[in-house]
């Protein structure tokens, strides 16, 4: 059941420029699933809306959630200075999450681009499959690659070529001659579009996690929609709500 509650910061550290890694203690960890997200509320009274952040990892005891986020404004700047013991209001668990079962025993790509990498970690932990993890970064300021190496073979692409394949994640897949039966991905829109095309050519399913500005996070405000191929069951138009019908969609369902 979704709820808003107060969480306590267990730890925080910086992983790379503008990228922070925070563990928070919250009951929400009990039912959290890979690909779902939570909303954090800044204390700054000039801000109003919750900040959606994907769940990166759930601890073994299921008492804490790990989020890895990028500083993009006032809210995330505030979060980044939280110290152990500080409290923060969180709303969760939100969204559908990745259909883990669809990857079972298959050859899968876990593709993460930039700040789309974090949700791949909990997914990699829970997915029983032959995991090929493809990560795209701007430069060699890598993050989460070590955590992910524990769960599968990791391939890296960097825009400036300072680490791994020079180029994007698709270049890395080609350069390493990789193949898969299913794709799970999260990252910037150009990357997701490329994956959608790739999956269509290869005729394989691709489950992509989308991002959009949100207000309510629970499906009421219709702020965060994505165009759909078919008429959506809930909206009765060609729009699905990323916060509740998503954030994960089969690439073929959405017009991106």
């Amino acid at each position: 059941m979704k709820q808003k509650q107060t969480a306590t910061v267990r730890s925080q550290r910086q992983l790379a420029a503008q990228i922070f890694d925070m563990w928070i203690e919250t009951e929400l960890a009990g039912e959290a699933a890979p690909g779902q997200f939570i909303c954090l509320y800044p204390k700054d009274k000039s801000t109003l809306l919750p900040r959606p952040i994907s769940i990166c990892e759930i601890n073994e005891e299921r008492t804490a959630l790990r989020i890895v986020y990028r500083i993009t404004g006032k809210g995330t700047t505030e979060f980044s200075v939280y110290k152990q013991g500080d409290t923060v209001s969180v709303l969760g668990n939100l969204g559908n999450g990745f259909p883990v079962a669809k990857g079972k025993e298959k050859r899968v790509f876990l593709i993460g681009g930039g700040i789309g990498i974090p949700p791949m970690l909990q997914l990699a932990k829970e997915l029983q499959a032959q995991k090929q993890i493809v990560l795209g970064y701007r430069s060699n300021e890598l993050f989460l690659h070590n955590d992910l190496e524990r769960y599968g073979q990791v391939y890296v692409a960097t825009e400036d070529g300072s680490a791994g394949t020079k180029g994007n994640v698709m270049d890395a897949i080609r350069e390493n001659g990789l193949d898969a039966d299913v794709i799970f991905a999260c990252g910037p829109m150009p990357m997701l579009r490329a994956i959608k095309r790739y999956a269509e050519e290869k005729k394989i399913p691709a489950y992509i996690s989308l991002e959009e500005h949100m207000a309510c996070g629970v499906g009421a405000c219709l702020g965060c929609v994505v165009k759909t191929k078919e008429v959506d069951h809930h909206s009765n138009v060609h729009n699905a709500r990323i916060c509740t019908d998503g954030p994960v969609f089969e690439a073929g369902e959405v017009e991106i």
Partner: protein
Amino acid sequence: MNLKTTIAGVTLQNPVMTASGTFGSGMEYSEFVDLNRLGAVVTKGVANVPWQGNPTPRVAEVYGGMLNAIGLQNPGIDVLMERDIPFLRQYNTKIIVNVCGKTVEDYIEVVEKLGDEPAVALLEINVSCPNVKEGAIAFGQKADALYNITSELKKHARQPLIMKLSPNVTDITEMAKAAEAAGADALSLINTLTGMKIDVHKRKFAIANKTGGMSGPAIKPIAVRMVYQTAQAVKLPIIGMGGIANAEDAIEFILAGASAVSIGAMNFVNPYSTIEIVKGIEDYMKKYKVENFSDLIGAVEG
């Protein structure tokens, strides 16, 4: 202690309702709040046919508030009546349906269909929709257009009509008087104020529609002023809204002349807002020994 309040002959168990478009049809927030404890649920604006709405980004944050340009995306009246009204019927709260359209005929079609649904207590007419016949100007920004649509809809409506007024006008009392003269049963105000946000680093508009409707605590003083001016100008009951975040905000509108209040953007900030505000109004009445809620309506001094 009596929290009851009456709008156009319909008695609500308490004066707290939801603002159209911020609460869906109640389903999403029923996970957080017991809908039985709300005075009324006002559904998201519905048209005669489904509307696709605007491209994204549709929302942006501003200082103490937000902008939205959803574009009145809605599933159409048929889906609302088949799916949403039956859901809301399960709860002990009043159902108010917000109606939008691009032409008077659109509105009439929706209003007539709702006439067959006794579970719907009141209709709220959103006159801030784009008006095809009068170009970009909304019905709600010209007194004569507001008068015409109000009197037209009164001919076809079985339920009492709440006209929801736009604050983007020179004189809110002129609009209120036009609605009253045309036979409106109640008024709700304020709808959102038209605003804009530009990302100075991207040099782009923050929302695809360029302009959006502003809501949140930042607009409250403008809303309170308009509710007060309107209460001085007409006899109709007023549903006050605009940035209400807590019980004190709600009471500010009530003292200004509102018979009930709607909670909008703050549902996004705190999904429990509505019931916390009901509780807060009770506490205020206890503290100041107010026996009947109605004694607070318009009770500001001087």
